[in-house]
């Protein structure tokens, strides 16, 4: 059972602090923050999500720069607690529309109300936005979405959030629209994270797609929804090795290595016609997660050429090839390159006529960043 739950700002201030069992000292938030900030055990590495300090176990997840923390003295399931923390963040976002330090500070009473119902004496009661609705009486105070800092595409990986913050879905599930009428809407996003490793000669060494179908429903009355996936979708690769590519490409069929589903999804007709049936409850949730290692054509190919241009100088030529149909545009692309620790200066030379491109040398973590606002495929043009 969980002893305390708290949310800390980037500077370590308590935004909410809820003590459920009273068996961990009150100063735990400060103890925790100090430990995380000065985590030195592995050479200035970041603190792991779970650690034990004087018999107290601290769990934390980072969401939009905030630290969601739980403490306990018991030997709990780490998956359960970390999943719960993530879920609490999502429930709060469902209610506030936007999850940020500002919105939390404005709505902390509502957050306490939620926390009271999510857990009792450290045991989870419910994390369903829908169920919680009947217990919650505070109205959210909506914060201005325009002032939200953009997370950028890199945040997709760094924060681990698999979702781009679309403006349409920053609406609270309980807030009333101006004019008192409610729009019947449902948002379905498909987010895929593609990881590819190329060899220095350009061959693909490993490739994997991790995807999620994300849903956020504002429909009243929870009508049943059917979601039809590709007919030729198949799951599992039989007895074959996962990396046996032979014969799997070309047929056009999609082979998922594995997938899992939200508990509200009924799979009765899934085997027959690849249709998912669900009655989406309020709020945001992943309908399905899947994983593909089938061969596919990556959207980009990066080529690098490194030459020593002197005793203390190296020249790097980076080429980025867009390999997707010309009907598609890619937005906000960032190319990162780690540089040796003793790098002191970096000069850039962009392709003449390049528009909307930026280069930057991040001195703190020795990284070169090359960002492109927009990439249009010109068959195999490079720049």
């Amino acid at each position: 059972m969980i002893s305390q739950f708290f949310v800390l700002s980037q500077r370590g201030d308590n935004i909410v602090f809820r003590d459920y069992r009273g068996d961990v000292q009150k100063g735990s938030a400060e103890v925790f923050f100090r430990k995380v900030k000065f985590w030195k055990e592995d050479d200035k590495e970041e603190a792991p999500p779970v650690f034990n300090l004087d018999g107290v176990n601290y769990f934390h997840v980072k969401v939009v720069g905030l630290l969601f923390v739980a403490t306990t003295r018991n030997n709990l399931s780490p998956s359960l607690v970390l999943e719960l923390l993530q879920r609490i963040a999502r429930v709060i976002k469902d209610y506030l529309g936007v999850l940020s330090e500002g919105s939390l500070r404005k709505n902390f009473v509502l957050v306490y109300e939620l926390l009271d119902e999510v857990m009792d004496f450290g045991y989870v009661q419910t994390t369903s936005t829908e169920v919680l609705k009947s217990y919650i009486f505070n109205e959210p105070i909506v914060v201005d979405t325009d002032r939200l800092p953009s997370l950028g595409p890199a945040a997709l990986f760094v924060q681990g959030a698999k979702r781009m913050p679309g403006t349409a879905v920053t609406k609270s599930v309980v807030a009333h629209e101006p004019g008192g009428r409610k729009r019947e809407e449902i948002f379905v996003d498909i987010i895929e994270k593609i990881s590819v490793t190329f060899s220095s000669s350009g061959y693909i060494l490993t490739s994997e797609i991790d995807g999620t179908i994300q849903m956020k429903s504002y429909l009243t009355g929870n009508p049943e929804i059917r979601l039809a996936l590709n007919d030729d979708l198949s799951i599992g690769r039989g007895g074959r090795s996962i990396y046996d590519y032979s014969g799997s490409s070309g047929s056009g069929s999609v082979i998922l290595d594995d997938c899992n589903f939200h508990e509200s999804v009924h799979l009765d007709s899934f085997d027959v016609d690849r249709t998912l049936t669900l009655a989406p409850s309020d709020g945001e949730f992943p309908v399905m997660n899947y994983r593909i290692t089938q061969e596919f054509k990556p959207p980009f190919r990066i080529n690098s050429l490194i030459e020593e241009a002197g005793p203390l100088k190296a020249e790097v030529i980076l080429k980025n090839y867009a390999e997707f149909p010309s009907s598609i545009t890619a937005n906000t692309i960032v190319v990162e390159m780690p540089l040796p620790t003793y790098t002191t200066r970096v000069n850039y030379e962009l392709e003449p006529g390049a528009v909307g491109q930026m280069t930057d040398f991040k001195e703190s973590n020795r990284r070169l960043e090359w960002s492109l606002k927009k990439v249009i495929s010109l068959a195999a043009a490079h720049w």
């Binding site: 308590n14 935004i15 779970v50 970390l82 999943e83 993530q86 004496f121 290595d257 997660n289």
Partner: protein, 842 residues
Amino acid sequence: MAPPAQSQKSSSPSQPSGKGEVSDVKMQLRQLAGSRAPGTDDSKRELFKKVISYMTIGIDVSAVFSEMVMCSATSDIVLKKMCYLYVGNYAKNNPDLALLTINFLQRDCKDEDPMIRGLALRSLCSLRVANLVEYLVGPLGNGLKDGNSYVRMVASIGVLKLYHISASTCMDADFPAMLKHLMLNDKDAQVVANCLTSLQEIWGLEASTSEEAAREREMLLSKAVIYYFLNRIKEFSEWAQCIVLELVAKYVPSDSNEIFDVMNLLEDRLQHANGAVVLATIKVFLQLTLSMTDVHQQVYERIKSPLLTLVSSGSPEQSYAVLSHLHLLVMRAPFIFSSDYKHFYCQYNEPFYVKKLKLEMLTAVANESNTYDIVTELCEYAANVDIPMARESIRAVGKIALQQYDVNAIVDRLLQFLEMEKEHVTAETLVLVKDLLRKYPQWSHDCIAVVGNISSKNVQEPKAKAALIWMLGEYAQDMQDAPYILESLIENWDEEHSAEVRLHLLTAIMKCFLRRPPETQKALGAALAAGLADFHQDVHDRALFYYRLLKYDVSVAERVVNPPKQAVSVFADTQSSEVKDRIFDEFNSLSVVYQKPSYMFTDKEHRGPFAFSEELGNLSIDTDLANDVVPAQRVEENDKDLLLSTSEKEENHGSINNSSAYDAPSYDGSRMVGALQPQQDLVSLDQPPPANTPASLAMDDLFGLGLPVAPSPTPPPLALKLNAKAVLDPNSFQQKWRQLPVAASQEISLNPQGVSALSSPQVLLRHMQGHSIQCIASGGQAPNFKFFFFAQKEDEPSTYLVECVINSAACKAQLKIKADDQSTTQAFSTLFQSVLSEFGLP
């Protein structure tokens, strides 16, 4: 001042400092308390909010307690909730003021609105004030019978809260029985789940003092109850499912059909998007099939995919938790995952703690067919700008080489690392090359050629320097410059800060001298002189020892310092198999993430209500045991590359798995395990902490004739005579068992012959009785037996208690020994084990 205020030492400038604001709020609340003007509730809301925000940031606002209570007479539910939150926070430290709230909370418990009833009941139970418990019993009893499920939900956890404030009040009101009834009959799944959690905690804590509670706790694991939960599993929320699954994992089905039924029923839980549900299900599968080797392996195959999917979906934190479990499974059964090695490749943006797990998995799954790919990948990481990552990767390459796959190519690559001329890479590689040479002396020519080219000036890290020096000494005749390099190092003796390096220098110069005396004599003299004047005790002693040895007889010195060496064949495992099994038993818990069993990081009262082996009461924290294990652990962790000398290895085989070179019958282990831990202690005690590995290697050299020269780790146990007519009644046994700490805890292997004779518990009882060890309770069926033994010293009323769990299928026994006289525990333990090992022998 109350604790919350003290904890907030430095409030940021944007936050108010406290006092002035609190008294302001107090004034304003007073004004509002009696007011009935329209809009009062809104102003109250604002003030309440302010109070709660002060509370959050740690300002003590308990001073406004009575004003808050006065203002709480309202029908506004938002206000009520804020007030409840406030009261819950401060009641414990202000019991007198808490009394003020009882009245309105009790009234609210009878409100028409079930929401208010529930909220009030929850707050009432959350006051944590012992002298108010009498006011709780009535409302709680009503709550459990309430027609609304929300109220019952709150009440079923409320009982647990009451138990923690006053266990006797809770038991006297017979609440557990009511909970049990609700658990088995309520229509609402969350009420059922709450009853289960409360009962588990209550009976878990009560079981140590009450037999009835222990029985009730067993009842939760009866077939009827387990099936009842399993049949309803889909009604439960995902979180409640986790609780049920955790319970099911402890259920022992009667036959294999039952096992398959349970698994089929839970099969679809593996496709759940919530990682906690999936891991809880996996735990059930793994526990149920422990005794069925083939099925157990199939389970591994089955759970692989869902685990990999969970690792790649969700936040990095969640995937870390899942990955830790995957890591555990990979370490247990690497061959099952050997074709999945590409999943363990590191991605550039992963945090170090994830990469580290992945590197260990890559090392573990390496076999003939994938080693080339894996090593190629690891070599990429070795050039990483991230230094800790580069180091770990090189270590991984070295470990794979020591696993004997493709050594040829790997040695080449390691030597290439040396040519990269990066200090951390060179340092790490030198240490590995040294280990490799100890295992594969046949590679010395290739390695020495490259190592000889390294300038000792480029090697600064003590560990690496020590490795280089060791090689210079060991291969002095092959390395032309060895005497001169050593000589120049000795010249800088005073600048060498590491005692470890100085120790190695002494030994290396000795070896060098014995092989190339004319060139080395001068340097040896200088080294011995410097060593004798050294302020470090070990260095001084070693120099003196060498000096006297040489004076006594050079040929004896030769035999001691430079004996023919056997190649080392096996690595010491980083953890004993007992520790690993314990972690495995605690699957889906923090133990897996920390890679430590729970007793090492939790105190006894938090170890979970359902620790199974502890049915005779919660064992108090076994400090002795912890002390036994922790130093060993430390040695192992600091020195992953601690190579054991062959003689040590033979004694340690009980804890070494996958030792392909070693095939001694396992039942010998029963006598040796006892010797294992003290020996490891010896290693850690004898060396100054930073000087672990190489120094111990040097020790081997020093006592080159093998360990018999080394002081024996424990004094031989004193002969212990037991009273043949010992008596102890069951009650005093139980009482003693509860009071005494565990003095020794061990897992031992049993003689298969003896195990085969163990047809029923009685056979063993008679055997033990013949050696003055009495049995007080026994039970179980093949393959699991459990015994409680006791014995008394012959001449004094000093008693030993033993819990012995025998698994006849695995030929293993787990012992827990408690003793009145702790100093003789070891002697008794040895005696007990030898008696046990004689069982079944003709």
